[in-house]
């Protein structure tokens, strides 16, 4: 097992390298020339740069070197924990990403809590009462919430909660975790994965319930609670864990819109503002950081599998 984990971590390196290459290549052919931006900024202040100055800056930033050399320099920087700096306000990228992580991390944990404490029980409930009205309601609602993009849902939820029911104010900015706006944000953040988890849990339980050993467990007189917790739950959690692999991607997609709508200083808002101003170094930083998160999550999923199912053995 330790050997397997080590191998997987070593396998991160080429994957990460390709991710770095793709993002850097996109930036290289991309439309933004940092020196031009600098020129425009100086011109706005009334300073005109000479050709020599432009050439000097270009040389200092290493932009006059061939593509591969620039790429090697970038990889070298990333390996030293630096994603460069923004070409617009010269703030280093990595500290800026770090400063958003507290907010985004708390929101993600909130969403995870909702997934575990609401999503899995709802899935179990739907399976327990399958093909009844409760089941249809849970499955229908989850498919409904899965289908609708979150940027459509946000204004609609706000129209209902703020304009009709008057239960909360318009959520603006970060107000701590014990507020209605945090709960709403975390709930909206979790939606895509919530629908997935409900479906997977329900499907998993229904599939496991058809097995002979469940009938055996009932036949030998085990109480229904024990059958459910010992035999059904543990085996039906395997597909649920798979959803965790998609979690980071889903959360990140939703976070972009939620941070924007609620004005939360999280990773999603950093991404959308960087995208609007075409601040490419920030964008690469966020893309690479999130990719690493996805890889780590996939590794975690693969580590959890054999814990739930002893038949899964890695060589």
């Amino acid at each position: 097992m330790v050997r397997y984990i080590l191998m997987r971590i070593i396998a991160f390196i080429p994957t990460l390298f390709v991710v770095l290459f793709i993002t850097f290549f996109l930036g290289y052919i991309g439309p933004v020339d940092p020196v031009k931006i600098m020129q425009q900024q100086r011109r706005a202040q009334g300073v005109y740069m000479t050709q020599e100055e432009v050439a000097t800056i270009r040389h200092q930033l290493g932009l006059d070197r061939p593509f591969l050399e620039q790429f090697v320099a970038y990889v070298n920087n990333v390996l030293h924990g630096s994603f460069g700096f923004s070409y617009f306000d010269y703030v280093p990228v990595w500290p800026r990403i770090q400063s958003t992580l507290a907010v985004s991390g708390q929101l993600a944990l909130g969403a995870l809590a909702i997934l575990i404490f609401i999503g899995i029980p709802l899935g179990l409930l739907a399976a327990k009462f399958h093909n009844t009205r409760i089941d249809y309601m849970i499955v229908g609602t989850s498919l409904f919430l899965y289908s609708i993009p979150v940027f459509v849902l946000i204004p609609m939820v706000l129209i209902v909660l703020v304009l009709w029911l008057h239960v909360m104010n318009v959520p603006r900015g970060w107000q701590g975790i014990f507020t209605s706006s945090f709960v709403l944000a975390a709930f909206l953040l979790s939606l895509r994965s919530l629908a997935n988890i409900i479906r997977q849990t329900r499907g998993g339980v229904l599939e496991v319930m058809q097995n002979d050993y469940i009938r055996t467990a009932r036949a030998k007189g085990l109480r229904e609670l024990h059958v459910f917790t010992r035999h059904i739950m543990r085996n039906s959690l395997i597909p649920v864990v798979t959803v965790l692999g998609l979690l980071v991607d889903d959360l990140m997609t939703n976070a972009v819109f939620i941070d924007l709508a609620f004005n939360l200083p999280g990773l999603g808002r950093l991404f959308s503002t960087s995208l609007t101003s075409r601040d490419f170094n920030n964008i690469y930083g966020i893309v690479i950081f999130t990719s690493v998160l996805i890889m780590v999550m996939n590794l975690l999923v693969d580590i959890i599998y054999p814990l739930l199912d002893p038949r899964v053995v890695y060589d």
């Binding site: 991710v19 793709i22 439309p31 993009p149 997609t253």
Partner: protein
Amino acid sequence: MATTKTDTVNTQESLQGQFGANTRQRNLWNDAFRRLIRNRLSMIGLIIFIFFLLIAVLGPVIAPYDYRVQNLDRVAEPPGPDHWLGTDDLGRDTMTRIMWGARTAAIVAIIATSMSLLLGIILGSLGAYIGGWMDTFLSRLIDVTLSIPSLLFASLIAATFRKPVADWVDAMYQQTGLSIFATTTYADLIVVFGALAFITWPGYARLIRGQILSLRQKEFVEAAVTVGAKQSRILMKYLIPNALGPIIVALTFSFAGAIVAESSLSFLGVGVQPPQPSWGNMISDNALSWRYRPWLVAAPGLTIAIISLAINFLGDGLNDALNPRTAIK
């Protein structure tokens, strides 16, 4: 399961009675079609989907106004008899823009999913047939692409390629003088197709590779090989019909996914650019006025919600109809 069987047999008998013997054969597609029309939600989904396609084709003809024309006397009106869904902050008719948006959404969804399916079929079957280093390489490529966050990747691609593609379209216009190169709309669409195809192909490639690998080892394919069936017959009669079900289902779901993704990109400002209407940029244009003029956000929002929900219901029904063994009753 037993009741379902007798049901189908009964229908078949009555049909045979009506139309004479052997007019309806029992095969995969007939069975699937019967199962599909019995599913009420998917039929509603199918009807809404067909309606959406009709609007996408006919919308510009039957739309009551011009999508660009501003009526400055009637800015930001609530829904009324003249403007069924109201007008926006610039005095443009919302319903007209939604109809044109349907065209944008349909074009993007059809072309982006076809491109991504084509890429998936080529790369997936290449990996499965050639195997060896090619398979390893393609599988790794799929892993890498899937480990890049999808929305972020798509918007990065869209942001990067917008200017080069726009320049190219402009150069084409200078050289050829063709009117289709005169606007940037096509450049926008090309960029969005590319971005969406690029993030969705790994799903198809993985699906098709898996299907080919698992079907080739099935007993009925081995049996066909043993009795000396030709390669082409095995491909046409055994491999494709069996692999088609899951692919059609995946196609349906990703159709909805593409509509949502297009509006997401347009919402973020890297998709279809104004004044060309897209449901996403209609929402983002009016996002700030949800409090005072909620219909401006609700109309395109509900449209996306209904279409996406309808297609997902259709996909669910197709899944139950085409893959009866994996569907949970």
